[in-house]
Symmetry: C2
Subunit: 346 residues, 2 copies
């Protein structure tokens, strides 16, 4: 019999609530012969306040032994900005070499979008996860004085760019439309821009069936609201990916339905799956959070581990559930989870 061994990190705010529903749907969809084992970890604001720790070497050793990680949300206003982001979220991405940050955007029938008309949105962003402006390189001199200078260094390597570009080409190749857009700002950030552009053009030669285009990040934000149907697969750097995926989530149904995977494609370390939304402390503990983004993240997790049929069942259940929401009274977090669990089991 098979087994699926998950590290579960509920985290802060609504994290606990949405992760519970994600696990509910996971249990309902898994084949009988798969033994699901979960181990919960207490990372986040509470642990930080109690111990000063965000993510220790021992934590990383423990997390390493799981098949994958499911995370709710990390972050709380009681913790200074950056402490949990750099100390936990980014530390984990870098430690486990999560260089493919996968963020699909699909506007499902019946789902509201801030855009006028009936845009067709179905694309996936492959965001680099271990380089660029996110490395924490840089520093400050004369801090707090009128002569302070603060720098941030974006570090880009041919190794790091090529592997994520190659991953994106392979994903584009596997999709019906076979289109890939590189988003950067190569007319201003010429050092990193030329590296990205050259690597992209070189790898493109290996994928002659994939249609490519290049777009500056500023222009990309325009197309995301005026012609979102233009996109199929997007590959981009860590910071640009952060920005365009939030905009992409906003136009394709909101961050309530935006899922993401922080993937180590080679499987050297477990990959981590999480909703794009944050911990939303303002609505935490009230059963108001929509667990859909977490449930869709569970689908990404299953797909990553080879459970394609089960992942597809979740995607279908979510599409059906979203399609029937209009005009109905709002449901609680667990009611939505229950409904999705029934659908995937049925």
């Amino acid at each position: 019999s098979r087994s699926l061994n998950l590290a579960v990190i509920p985290g802060d705010g609504i994290g606990q609530e949405v992760v519970a529903e994600g696990l509910k749907v996971l249990s309902a969809v898994l084949p009988q012969d798969v033994k699901l084992e979960t181990e919960e970890y207490d990372f986040g604001a509470r642990r930080y306040h109690a111990t000063g720790e965000t993510l220790t070497d021992a934590d990383l050793d423990a997390l390493k032994r799981h098949d994958a990680i499911l995370l709710g949300a990390i972050g709380d206003p009681s913790v200074p900005s950056g402490v949990l982001e750099r100390g936990f979220l980014l530390k984990l991405r870098f430690a486990f070499d999560h260089h493919v940050n996968l963020r699909p955007s699909k506007l499902l029938p019946g789902v509201a979008t801030p855009l006028a008309g009936e845009p067709q949105i179905d694309f996936v962003v492959v965001r680099e996860g271990t380089e660029g402006p996110y490395t924490g390189n840089g520093g400050t001199i004369r801090k707090g004085t009128e002569h302070e200078v603060a720098t941030e260094v974006s570090v880009n390597t041919a190794f790091g760019v090529e592997r994520v570009v190659r991953d994106a080409f392979a994903r584009a190749q596997a999709r019906p439309r076979k289109k890939l857009a590189l988003i950067h700002k190569n007319n201003v950030l010429t050092f990193a821009g030329h590296l990205w552009t050259n690597v992209f053009n070189k790898v493109a030669e290996e994928f002659p069936e994939v249609t490519t285009e290049y777009m500056h990040v500023d222009a990309a934000t325009i197309y995301l609201v005026t012609q979102p149907e233009r996109f199929d697969v997007i590959v981009t750097d860590n910071l640009f990916g952060d920005i365009v995926t939030d905009l992409a989530a906003a136009v394709s149904g909101g961050i309530g339905v935006a899922a993401s995977g922080n993937i180590n494609p080679a499987g050297d370390f477990p990959s981590m799956f999480e909703p794009v939304h944050g911990s939303a402390p303002d609505i935490a503990g009230q059963g108001k959070a929509d667990p859909t983004a977490t449930v869709l993240s569970v689908a990404l997790l299953l797909r990553h581990l080879g459970y394609e049929a089960e992942a597809a069942r979740i995607d279908e259940a979510v599409a059906a559930d979203l399609g029937e929401r209009t005009g109905k009274p709002a449901r609680s977090t667990s009611e939505i989870g229950d409904a999705l669990a029934v659908r995937v089991a049925g």
Copy 2:
């Protein structure tokens, strides 16, 4: 009698056409006693191909003698990406210390937006123009090899941040709603982020009437499409400003109506005014380009030089013209310019 001495840089693509209309409207709106003098400069792709020059020291000396600069667009596919951007546009901004990049976004009645509903959009972005990731700091080693490393260094100084933050607070203070949002990514770019946040909070103490908020750049893109009415004045760094102003232009009527000023508030050097759109080589020379963004840039130029009443007349003429467009046949570049010239003169 007064005089207004302008440097005019038509540039590439549609630049020539739209600048001609900008000057037409300027002549029509200026009081009789103001002597308008213009000198045209041939910067852009043609000059680059002919001479290899983008912007020389002698050019800067010549430009320095004008009261202000009006620019159409610079950029052509025949020139490698980055050459004219770094060699002309950014060189000029840095040389003339254009640290306030002012970009108003106002959705005028009758103007189409990609957003559903009837959003109220009326805000202005104050983008820093001389620091951040735009400094050209960084470099490449092992270029073209599989071991290439390319860096981009964002440089931020208390001096540079404080002057632009102070400018933005003053603008917020002068507006009815008196709201100012700082956009950054201080949870990841912690060195630059803390500098921006600390300076912002310090300057805020001098403007107790201004309501402030902080927003991560990724979240800001969400609000720009879901709650654009939330914004009054935004202050942000050079790269984030580049990105959010294109998105802001897209939601508030498109880049056909987006104006900008590259301003040196102290007047040490002439400020430069330009439409946000590019050179659009695909429609150049066909009389199809909308000169409205250039005409609105002329209004920003006039306002900067103290011609407030004339600037307001242009704004009103543009609002009236846009409000009457729906259902009418498309007009040529010069027909739109003519109509606006008639309105401002009347």
